[in-house]
Symmetry: C2
Subunit: 108 residues, 2 copies
DNA sequence: ACAATGTATAAGCATTTGCTTATATATCTG
DNA sequence: CAGATATATAAGCAAATGCTTATACATTGT
């Protein structure tokens, strides 16, 4: 069952390109400290911090404090509302299913 | 390949609950005239009209003029940017793959 | 031709958003 | 302890967003 509010929260959070880029970097790099995300970013440290809060609130990332470092990593279940919602529209991306089947074979 | 701008556009467009509800109704009901969407909605006719424009601009729906009626239907490829983007994060919703496999069997 | 209907657009407005600078609050290090 | 480092929060602001009412513009029916 899809929880409207969660879906809205996840979509709104990922809709912003800067914030989505932060999410993508965390996903790619595994566990990253906030500082690592600030470096190589165009926006300020507070901006990144605010984006991280948004990602946390949406359940998309989790944090692990270690001294003065705050390490972020992707929360696997965070994308579930989006995946589930798209599942309801599979008829509309039916052509894509072939590609997905290939992916499934890979993961076997 | 994922086109950033398109993905942002699709996500931003679907992130709004009212607009997403409009999209969902079009998907469910097939081809609907704008009036049909206004009825049963809480917002005004112009609001619906503006949401339809946004959905059109994002490539999520298409329109067919017939006299003074404007019929809307879902554009299958519209969700592709979202599906493709999620495909890159399949490792993070791996648990969901079982469910997807079931879906795939259904569609065979 | 005239009124009614279906739809889009314009203008205005309150709210939300994403950023900035400035400032806290911890923690580590010499 | 004092300074440096890592991070978060507060305050302020311009831009974007989603809605409203008012109005325009076709098309249809009488």
């Amino acid at each position: 069952m899809i929880v409207e509010a969660q879906l809205t929260s996840v979509m709104k959070t990922l809709a912003d390109p800067t914030r989505r880029a932060v999410f993508e970097r965390i996903a790619r790099e595994g566990e990253v400290a906030a500082t690592g995300l600030v470096k190589g970013s165009r926006v300020s440290q507070p901006a990144i911090s605010q984006h991280l809060k948004a990602l946390r609130d949406a359940g998309l990332v989790s944090e692990r404090r270690d001294g003065r470092h705050n390490y972020y990593s992707v929360t696997p279940k965070g994308l579930a509302p989006l995946v589930d919602w798209l599942g309801h529209y599979r008829a509309f991306w039916h052509e894509r299913i072939a590609g997905l089947e290939a992916l499934l074979k890979e993961t076997e």
